[in-house]
Every structure is written in C-alpha cells, then in structure tokens.
C-alpha cells in the first residue's frame, strides 16, 4: 500500500482556523491518516460529511484529538459517487460516524459490518444508502435486529417504558436470564438540529444548542458560544469564563448526585435514593440562583454569560454548597458502607479498558474503565486553562467504578466551584459579538457531565454556518452500554443503563 504521509493541520480546542488550512487528502491517504493517528493513541472526535456544490461529490472531514499533547488535527477528502470504503473493521470507533454519513448523505461505507440507519430519517441529498423508495415510510426501530437463533429468545423493551424516561428500543438476545447480545435502536427523538443550524447563526441557534440534551444545557450552550466567539474573534472576560466554569460544574454536580440516587433506587436502596433526589434539587436551585433557570437556560450567551453575580449571591451559593456537600457525603457514604449495595454494584456490567479504547468511549464511563480522558485536562479551554481539575480514574469498569467516579468528580467539582467563586475576577459579564469570519473552521470541545461535547462549525464565504456538526457524548457511549451487557443478567440491565445514564435526544439530535 502506498502510504501518502501528508500532514494534517494542527490546532487547538476553541480556536478557529481558515478552512484553506485543512489539507485535502486522497481517499487512500485520508484512511491511512486516521488509522495511523488512532495507532498513535489519537482518538476520533468527529467524522462527518459536508455537502459540496455538486450533488455527486461529498467532502468528508475528520477531527482527531491528541490528548497527551493537547492539540487537535483535521483533514478532509472528496468522495465522488455513492460509496467509500468503510474503516470500521480496522478502526471500530468510527462505526457510528460511518452509519451516520450513510444515512445523511446516502453514501455506502463498503464493508461496514453492521450498516443500519442511526436515526431513521431521510437523507439530505436524495440518495439513499439502503435504496428505499421515497414514498416508503422510514420509522425508527423498524428494522432487522441481530439474531443468534436456536434456543436464544428475544426480549424487546421500549420505546414505551414503564417509567417516565426517553424513548429507545432495546433488543436482547437471551438464554434464560443471561444476555448474549443487546442491540439498541434509537432515533425516536430526532429533530434535525444539525440541519436547522445551517445558514445560522440565527437568534434561535442558541436555544437549539441549549435543548440538544436538556440535562447538558450548559455544556452544549458553552460549546456553541465558543464556536461563535472564536469565529468572530471575540475576547470574553475572565469573569464570564469563571461563571461559565461554575455553571458547568454545577450541572455536573446536579446530574452526578442525581445519578447516584437513581443507582441506589434501582437496587431498591431507599435512603440514598430519597436523599440524593433532594440534594439534586438543592443543586439545581443553586443554578437557578445564578440565572433563574434550574437547568441553566439563559446563563451561557455568546460573548459571555447572560447573568452576572453580586457578592450576596456568591455568599448564598457558597453557603448552599457547604450544606449540599455535607448532606451528599452522608447519603453517598451510606452506599459504599452497605454490603448489599456493593454486591449489586461490583463486577456488574464491566467495560474492559481495551474495549473502551477501541470504541472511543468518553466521559466518566471511559474514566471508570481506566482511561484518563477528560476534556478539561486534555483539551482545556475557558477557565479550565487556568484552574485545573484533577482527573478521577478508576480501573474496574463496572457499575461500582462508574458510580465511584461520579462521587470523586462531585468532590472535585465542589472544590473547583468554591475556589473559583471566592476569587471571581472583576469585569463585564458579556461583551458584544461581531460577525463570523467567512471560510473558517472551529472545533469547540467541553467536558459535559456525560463526557465530551463536541461542536464543529464550518462557515461559508458569507460567514454563515455551511455545516454545524454536533457530537454528544451519548453518541460514543451507547455502544459501550451494549457491550457491557454481554454475559450479564437481564435483570441487571436497568442498573447498567443507569450507570451510563446516556441521553436519547443528545444522540438523536
């Protein structure tokens, strides 16, 4: 194989570059560039198509992260026709990206081992990778599922569940209580956000970003605002960056505490479940104290933050934080001290380190499997360039590890919020934002509470979004849940599911 060693462009998180600087490789060189990079320990942050003027030509972009040296790489290639060779057999972490490209652009990744639609919508180009006719309805969950056959029976769960949760369909291949294989079919929440962002920024765009995944409002809104700010060369103040960091960590706190309570509830351990539910409410109220919304809506705005804090508010926040920390410690320690809870957590749903690496898992799930992966450390931006949060890593990869990582992160986030609120820099909370640079590319990564939130924007010659690519951490991590269930008891599925607690609408966009 003739290996064309061209250089990819190197840049950092949150800094825009001229689109011309992204090299265009031949398809062959593009593939080898990705495989080499993954071999060297880089990870695929995003792989996506961009329509060109000609209908039969599509551009593929890849964004890679070098986590040890804190930089990003990008490259692109042109695809003519309706096929390209699949990389999945040699690089499993792109499997869902390739399925997404097949669905959005009607391009067939030849040799993909499990080529199914991701979200069940019509392609953007009119081509269809599965040759479905235009009048044939496309419905989520209506497809063939992987079957083992023989004495193995199927259990189908969802999209309507007995509890009030988002819709998703889970197909288990079981023998008695043992699960051999789990396939997850999503797409019920698809709203078409990426397409709606094109031609932006509109006044609506920030609201689309805030509602990408309701529990990650701050993370997605921050990424969106970083895209706008770097493309318009807007210099936000240190005060705004600190307040963004504090909001992000408050979001993490609320969700992590809520998850620990939900994990306790799933094993029927009531004291922690009730207390954590209440403490989560207290922390949401702290976010409401900052911006009037318990989920941080309206807090993060292009150019800074929508709401400033005064000293009285800071004092109140610090007081509430102390109370929440004390309560949370009592409630959560009860989990670790109760043997019946530990026997439910330990050894259940293990995700080995190598599998997490191969599948490109992010967030607490990756850290629980021994990967030291955290955007706040690896690709820092905003306040995290200056205020570091130690990365919490555990190595067993089971439900216990994913629960314990959350607790460690709760402690770190509390310390971070306290230190940063006490030393909050002076200055304006928001600065005006100008028009966007034409023909630019920016990647904005943030460590949301579930993991890496990635927004990639490419502007056209008028400074509007030609393509807006969003990768929610759930997009990477759903396959980890499917893997973790192998050879587990089907009755432990809800517990494993809760230990990942992935977003359906973040995946479905």
């Amino acid at each position: 194989m003739n290996r064309d060693r061209e250089k990819m462009v190197t840049f950092t998180n949150g800094w825009s570059i001229d689109l011309d600087r992204v090299p265009t490789f031949t398809l062959d060189a593009f593939e080898w560039a990705i495989l080499d990079a993954v071999d060297q320990g880089k990870r695929v942050v995003a792989l996506f198509g961009v329509p060109t003027g000609q209908p039969e030509v599509t551009t593929l972009y890849v964004i890679l992260a070098q986590d040890q040296e804190n930089y990003l790489n990008a490259a692109r290639t042109q695809i003519e026709g309706d096929r390209f060779p699949s990389l999945t057999p040699r690089c499993p972490q792109v499997h869902l990206f390739e399925r997404e490209i097949a669905e959005q652009f009607g391009l067939v990744p030849g040799g993909h081992p499990w080529l199914k639609p991701v979200r069940s919508h019509r392609s953007w180009t009119g081509r269809d990778a599965w040759d479905r006719s235009p009048d044939q309805p496309i419905l989520p969950g209506v497809s063939d599922f992987y079957r083992l056959g023989g004495d193995v029976h199927e259990v189908a769960v969802g999209p309507v569940h007995a509890g009030i949760i988002e819709p998703g369909h889970f197909r288990f291949q079981c023998h008695g209580e043992q699960v051999f294989h789990l396939e997850i079919a999503l797409g019920y929440q698809h709203r078409g956000v990426e397409q709606a962002m094109r031609g932006g920024p509109h006044p609506r765009s920030i609201h689309y970003a805030e509602t990408l995944a309701g529990d990650s409002t701050v993370a997605h809104a921050t990424s969106y605002c970083q895209v706008i700010e770097s493309l318009s060369h807007c210099q936000k103040t240190a005060r705004a960056q600190t307040l963004r960091g504090v909001s992000l960590e408050l979001e993490r706190l609320a969700n992590h505490v809520g998850d620990l309570g939900a994990l306790a509830n799933d094993v029927g351990f009531l004291p922690t479940a009730s207390f954590c539910g209440r403490i989560r409410g207290d922390i949401l109220n702290m976010t409401a104290l900052l911006c009037g919304s318990r989920f941080g809506r309206g807090m993060i705005r292009p150019g800074g933050v929508g709401f400033d804090v005064d000293q009285a508010r800071v004092t109140a926040l610090l007081r509430q934080l102390d109370a929440a920390e004390k309560d949370a410690a009592v409630a959560v320690d009860l989990l670790w001290e109760t043997p019946s809870v530990m026997s439910r957590f330990e050894g259940i749903g293990p995700l080995p380190r190598q599998v997490a690496l191969d599948l490109g898992i992010v967030g607490p799930a990756a850290r629980a499997s021994g990967l030291s992966r955290d955007v706040r450390q690896d690709q820092p931006c905003g306040v995290f360039r200056f205020a570091h949060i130690p990365v919490s890593v555990y190595d067993t990869g089971d439900v216990f590890a994913r629960a314990y990582i959350r607790w460690l992160e709760i402690l770190q986030s509390m310390r971070f919020i306290r230190e940063n609120l006490r030393a909050i820099p002076a200055g304006a909370c928001q600065v005006p934002v100008g028009p966007l640079t034409p023909n630019g590319l920016v990647v904005a990564l943030n460590e949301g509470w579930r993991g890496e939130v990635c927004h990639v924007a490419i502007t056209d010659e008028t400074g509007r979004f030609a393509r807006y690519k969003i990768v929610d951490p759930s997009f990477h991590n759903w396959s980890a849940l499917a893997y973790a269930l192998r050879d587990q008891q089907i009755s432990d599925f809800p517990l494993c599911n809760k230990s990942f607690n992935l977003s359906y609408c973040g995946h479905d966009l």
């Binding site: 007995a162 029927g268 009531l270 009730s274 019946s340 432990d492």
Partner: protein, 302 residues
C-alpha cells in the same frame, strides 16, 4: 362465634394497613413524610372505580386468574388461626390444604401472566415458579417441624402449641424455623431483598411484571391479594416468634393486632436498610431458608 367474626373481619380489612405501615417506615428511613397510613385503601377504592383494558390476545384465564387467586388466598386465611384463637375452618391435615391453596393461587397468577403472551410476563412467571420451587419446600418443612413438636396435623393445634408452652428442647428448632419462615414471607410477598414492589423497571421485576397487563378492578384485586398473603404468612410467623397469650380475649386480640403491625414495621425496616439482591443470588437466600427449616427438623428428630 364472636371470634370467628373477628377473624373474618380482620382477615378482610386489615391487610392493606400493613402495606401502609411498611410504606410509612420506608418513608421515615428516606427522610420523607410518605403517603398516609390508609393510602392503600384509597388506592384500592380508586382502582375499583376505574375501567379495564383487556388485550385481544388474552382469554378467560387472564380475567379469572386474579379472582381465583383471591378466593384461594382468602380460603387459606380462613384455615390459618390468628393469635390463640381457633380458625373458622379446621380439620386434620389442613396444613396440606393451606399450602396447596397458596400453590393454587400462584398457579393462577402465573397462568394469567402467560396468557398475555408478553415476553415480560413470561419472564416474570418463570422467575416466580423458579423461586417457588425453593419457598414451598421451606414452608412444608417448617410446618413439618411444628407438626412434630405438637404431634398434631391440624394447623390450629400445631400453631397454638401446648397450653404449658413449648418444651425447652423445641426452642432451637423453632428459632431456625422462624428464620426460614421470615425469608419465605419476604419472598412470597415480593418484598426487598427478593423483589422490589416499588420498581418501575420491567426487567428486574418478579411479581409486578406478571401483572403489568392487569388494570382497574382486576389490578385492585391483585394488590389486595398480595396484602392478604402478607397478612396470612404474617399470622403464621407470629405464632412461632411471639406465642404470647394472656387469657383475656380482648387483650389477646389487641396483642395480635400490635404484633402484626410491629411485624409490618420490621419488614419496612428490612426494606429500608438493604438493597435488593442480584437476581441470581435470590436462590441463595431461599436455599438458606430451606436449610434453616431443614436443620430445625433434624434437631427435632435427632
């Protein structure tokens, strides 16, 4: 006559109160106020006034299942004596009758579940009968121990014990039987650590998943039957762990009531301080219950 009336009244009216007590205790451990003590009664009234949705795939088995189960459990309640008073129905060998009435109830619950053709309900039914394979022998051996101690084959004589109190050498077997019976009670009434009556997670349920398709009055009947079962197994257990009597009828009835409520509170405490077992560890608990009763029997014949 008065006692038979009292027996019937308590049997029919008291069971939902036990659920109220359990929920109150659990709420207290969770730092909540919790639902009112009498909430289970309101729930039953609410369900009785609701409509019913019947799946087209179901047959008469689905509709009759809960009713037959209720009838079987009430009959079992008439056989089991409360406190020191005689049961309304009693004859030699009624312990077998009692055990099989509970078996009949289970048979119709699981058959009604299978009748829906839903994979969930089939899964629940499979779990229920698999665990029953261990609880039923435990219950039988427990009854055997009591029969051996009392030398009688009627439930009333077995459970009341001799007037002079149990002989000292019966203490150890009785303690073992009490432990076994308590585990059987938790398993049979779908309480933590075996099952979680509050869960909304279909895949983890045992009893709840079997009745997912039942709604309205039929579901009310099922909830009421579950409470009845708790009450009846509770009366059985109380005979072993608290065979106190004063001789005064009104005092003995009050004593029984208080003991029953305390037992419900204990069940609530157990549910609050521990998590559910992993499904594959449930048999360990039930085998332990079986062995506990079995060793009780060995001690007695040794």
């Amino acid at each position: 006559m008065m006692h038979i009336l009292m027996h019937g009244l308590l049997l029919l009216i008291m069971p939902p109160l036990l659920l109220g007590v359990i929920n109150k205790v659990k709420a207290w451990f969770g730092g909540r106020v919790g639902p009112p003590l009498l909430q289970p009664y309101s729930d039953l009234v609410k369900l009785m006034r609701k409509g019913m949705v019947l799946s087209e795939t179901t047959t008469w088995v689905f509709r009759f299942g809960p009713v037959i189960t209720l009838a079987a459990v009430i009959l079992a309640g008439l056989v089991a004596p409360m406190g020191r008073f005689a049961a309304p129905v009693t004859f030699t060998g009624d312990l077998i009758f009692f055990a099989y009435l509970l078996g009949l109830a289970r048979f119709f619950t699981t058959t009604a579940a299978l009748d829906t053709g839903s994979p969930f309900e089939g899964m629940g039914a499979a779990r229920e009968v698999a665990f029953a394979c261990l609880t039923e022998p435990a219950l039988f051996i427990a009854l055997l121990v009591l029969a051996k101690i009392s030398g009688s084959l009627t439930l009333a004589d077995m459970l009341h014990g001799p007037m002079s109190g149990f002989p000292a050498q019966a203490a150890a077997p009785l303690i073992l039987v009490a432990i076994g019976l308590f585990a059987v009670l938790l398993a049979e009434t779908c309480r933590i650590p075996v099952d979680d009556p509050n869960t909304h997670l279909e895949l983890t349920m045992i009893h709840e998943v079997m009745v997912l398709d039942h709604s309205g009055p039929l579901f009310g009947v099922i909830l009421y039957t579950a409470a009845l079962k708790l009450f009846i197994l509770g009366t059985l257990l109380l005979h072993v762990i608290a065979p106190f009597q004063t001789g005064l009828a009104w005092l003995d009835w009050s004593l029984f009531l208080v003991q029953m409520l305390l037992l419900a509170a204990v069940v609530g405490v157990v549910e609050s301080v521990m998590a559910r077992l992993q499904m594959r560890h449930v048999p360990y608990l039930l085998v332990a219950a079986l062995l506990s009763c079995g060793f009780g029997f060995l001690l007695l014949i040794g």
